[in-house]
């Protein structure tokens, strides 16, 4: 018997198919176009992420949200992996957790994350992830790169020492604000976020000064001026709302 899955299905009723699968032994239900990450979160299963942010396009780059899928040898990033019927997902196996810790430790070695003097101390996603994953120390040697701070903008500053290259700022500026002031230059370990064509932020002609980049930044890399240690609290509730109002839920451009 031949099965035509999409025939005789009213497209107005079922724009995407529904399916059931398992996350950590729990049976969950989802649309076929919802990521495993989002289904897990709907069901109260937490998966650590850094580059993902609700309301922005997915990058699949921080690799913290990797999960194991039964029958698949490779670990898959849950933010860009979609469920299939009867798939079995394990979100926190010993192997996965140990890799997540190592990746986070590498991120700590990459730049100069000195929590004690950081504006975001206590409100930092990187710091919170370290707590969540139980990182007591970093096993790899710190790289201590020499990086700049750009405080030329009248209201905000960027400290590259605290950047984790999640590129939320680049995405929010491009996708939500529509200014595309932020971008990235260089490659590999020398990559760095830049404003315009690597000009001082303060002299940017494209920056609208909206501050969305600051609010979405997971660490203290982007902050408001005048905030002292531990005073920078990010507010990013505006994001899903703005995205919904602008009808960009279908953003599928892979970044």
């Amino acid at each position: 018997m031949k099965i035509h899955p999409r025939k005789n299905v009213r497209s107005d009723l079922n724009p995407s198919r529904l399916l059931t699968f398992r996350i950590d032994e729990r049976v969950v239900s989802a649309h076929e176009d919802e990521s495993i990450l989002s289904v897990a979160r709907q069901n109260g299963i937490s998966i650590p992420t850094l580059c993902h942010l609700d309301g922005l396009s997915e990058r699949g780059a921080c690799r913290l949200c990797i999960v194991e899928v039964k029958g698949v040898a490779r670990l898959l990033p849950s933010c860009v992996t979609f469920p299939r019927q009867d798939m079995e997902i394990i979100t926190a196996s010993e192997r996965v957790v140990s890799y997540r810790k190592k990746i986070l430790e590498l991120l700590f070695t990459e730049r100069n994350h000195v929590c004690a003097v950081c504006v975001s101390n206590g409100h930092c996603e990187l710091q919170n992830l370290a707590v969540e994953l139980g990182i007591s120390h970093v096993r790899y040697p710190y790289l201590y790169p020499r990086l700049a701070v750009d405080a030329s903008h009248s209201r905000f500053s960027v400290d590259h020492n605290r950047c984790v290259l999640c590129l939320r700022c680049v995405r929010v500026c491009d996708e939500i604000e529509g200014a595309h002031t932020w971008d990235i230059m260089g490659r590999g370990i020398t990559s760095r976020v830049i404003t315009d064509l690597n000009q001082p932020w303060g002299s940017s002609e494209t920056c609208t000064g909206c501050g969305k980049c600051v609010q979405v930044c997971p660490t203290g890399a982007l902050s408001e001026k005048g905030k002292s240690v531990a005073e920078m609290i990010k507010r990013r509730q505006f994001l899903p709302y703005l995205q919904m109002m602008r009808g960009r839920q279908d953003e599928s451009w892979p970044k």
């Binding site: 990058r59 699949g60 790899y140």
Partner: protein, 546 residues
């Protein structure tokens, strides 16, 4: 252009060539050009004109003759004589010897293993035709495969033929070509693309460059056949800008093919239309990764994205896209002309056909070779390659570039095919083979490749961006005799992390050179770590301490 025209052009070209009693082929691929074959060709032409021999003797620039180490190379097609290391001062001697006894001092033995043991499919025209003249390609049944495909076969039949041949992708991973073509053919969408990946970036590899420089039409024909089979009407050749000669010849070939009507609208009077554009890479190794390559063609930053979706359904400008390597496309025309069964008769059970390798490093015969899949490493290195110079001991052969591994002497009798190479921790890769002798320190070799990966990592995913740097630092410490007791464990730990969690192939395979050298040449590491001494005597810091 119809098929009769094609045959007509071929006939005219053949008879024109037969009119010459002697044809002197001068290699004008990048290797020989760099040691003066351009001036040599000019001098020959001038001398022939001066002596009035031009009615029966002709000089022709051809693609790579293979034995790059002995360049500039020159071959006398009719007499079957090869001259090596030819200088402008040898010109009159060569011309005087035409038809008589050859010039002894210049002779390159053609019956040596280097020439005898090769089986040439991809390179069959290399060194025989002038890559800048489409007529010569046509005289060698060029575009016959395309004519056959579009006029007598359905797209499905073409794909069936490719599947039957067992051809696997020559870019490195060895994905079955027929399967890839099927996926793109089945993908829904009116607009589809065919991309030729000529972003050859492995250190020491020059197969794709040589094919594009020596026989560009064959790649174009292969792409057109792929376009017909998959339903694409637009192709792109993504070639690195560091290959100016290849770019020039491909552009010329495209111009000629369009003028002749073998590209463009209604090819061979059918409804099939196909055009090709050239796109230049800006020097990023990661753009050899298909999703990064697509991003680069689209004008975005050359960074990979997670797959799935695969380019076969979601590729260039979101349309289904077929991406194959230069050598894969170059295999297609003869495969269609002679049939998949013929192709499947060559090679091993799971790796069919031949493979082009670029031999480099500590080996006598540096150059370009093509051998049937399954030829042993020993035959390639010692027979065809002529062994190690200066009586040194063989130590390892590195295949697959920065994504491959170092294979030690104990595996010399292993047949070279996709699966055997994978079994020992390496990969086929695009075909670079770097031979190392006893004077190479394998830690230093691993460090070299990791430095390459570190500077070529795009920086998108954390494990590769920071992992390559940390591994590189450890390898520097080891070669510099500054390593601590935990460094070896940390090295293995980081390699495992990168392999399992990196986003794209670059990061996932970057640890391979380290892992294989750790597996097969652990003593090189241990000597550096414990005795603070370089076993091979290659590392500078080590010598100073000792």
């Amino acid at each position: 252009m119809n098929i009769e025209d094609l045959h007509q052009i071929a006939r005219i070209e053949k008879s024109k060539q037969e009119g010459f009693q002697h044809q002197i082929h001068v290699c004008v691929a990048a290797g020989c050009l760099s040691c003066g074959s351009g001036q040599l060709k000019e001098a020959l032409e001038k001398e022939i004109a001066r002596r009035g021999l031009d009615t029966w003797c002709r000089v022709k620039g051809v693609g790579c003759l293979g034995l790059c180490t002995a360049g500039p190379l020159l071959s006398l097609e009719t007499a079957g004589i090869f001259y090596q290391g030819v200088k402008v001062s040898d010109v009159s001697d060569i011309l005087e010897a035409l038809g008589g006894a050859p010039v002894e001092r210049l002779i390159c033995p053609v019956n040596s293993a280097f020439f005898r043991r090769q089986v040439r499919i991809v390179l069959e025209n290399c060194g025989r035709i002038d890559p800048e003249r489409i007529e010569e390609y046509m005289a060698e049944s060029g575009y016959g495969g395309l004519a056959l495909a579009v006029s007598q076969m359905s797209p499905t039949e073409v794909i069936e033929e490719v599947s039957r041949s067992g051809l696997r992708g020559r870019g490195g991973a060895g994905f079955p070509t027929g399967l890839k073509w099927t996926s793109v053919a089945k993908a829904s969408g009116l607009t589809k693309f065919v991309i030729c990946n000529a972003d050859e970036g492995d250190p020491g590899a020059f197969m794709d460059r040589s094919v594009l420089e020596s026989d560009p039409h064959r790649v174009i024909e292969g792409m057109a056949i792929a376009g017909y089979a998959t339903g694409a009407s637009q192709g792109y050749i993504y070639v690195r800008a560091e290959y100016p000669l290849a770019v020039k010849r491909v552009r010329l070939a495209l111009f000629q093919a369009e003028r002749m009507g073998v590209l463009g609208n209604n090819i061979f009077n059918t409804s099939f239309s196909f055009n090709i554009k050239v796109r230049l890479g800006a020097g990023a190794f990661v753009c050899g990764e298909e999703t990064a390559l697509i991003a680069s063609i689209e004008g975005r930053m050359g960074r990979p994205r997670p797959r799935p979706p695969f380019p076969a359904e979601f590729g260039l400008w979101e349309h289904p896209t077929l991406i194959n390597n230069v050598e894969t496309f170059a295999n297609v025309p003869p495969l269609i002309r002679k049939g998949g069964r013929w192709f499947a008769g060559l090679g091993t059970e799971k790796s069919k056909g031949t493979k082009v390798f670029a031999l480099a490093g500590k080996i006598m015969n540096t150059g370009l070779i093509e051998v049937p899949m399954g030829t042993s490493l020993r035959d390639i290195v010692f027979d065809i390659g002529g062994g190690i110079p200066r009586g040194k001991e063989f130590k390892a052969v590195q295949t697959g570039g920065p994504s491959g591994g170092c294979i030690p002497g104990q595996f010399l009798d292993m047949p070279v095919d996709y699966d055997s190479l994978a079994k020992v921790g390496s990969i086929m890769g695009s075909g670079g083979m770097i031979v190392m002798d006893e004077s190479s320190c394998m830690v230093d070799v691993a460090r070299f490749f990791m430095e390459f990966c570190m500077s070529e990592s795009c920086g998108k995913c954390a494990p590769c961006r920071v992992g390559t740097r940390q591994i590189y630092d450890i390898l520097c410490r080891i070669t510099g005799n500054l390593s601590g007791p935990d460094d070896l464990a940390m090295l293995e730990d980081l390699c495992d992390l990168m392999k399992s969690t990196s986003l794209c192939g670059l990061g996932q395979s970057a640890p391979n050179p380290v892992l294989t050298t750790l597996r097969y040449f652990r003593d090189d590491y241990l000597s550096h770590i414990h005795d603070k001494r370089c076993l091979a005597g290659a590392c500078k810091a080590a010598r100073e301490v000792a």
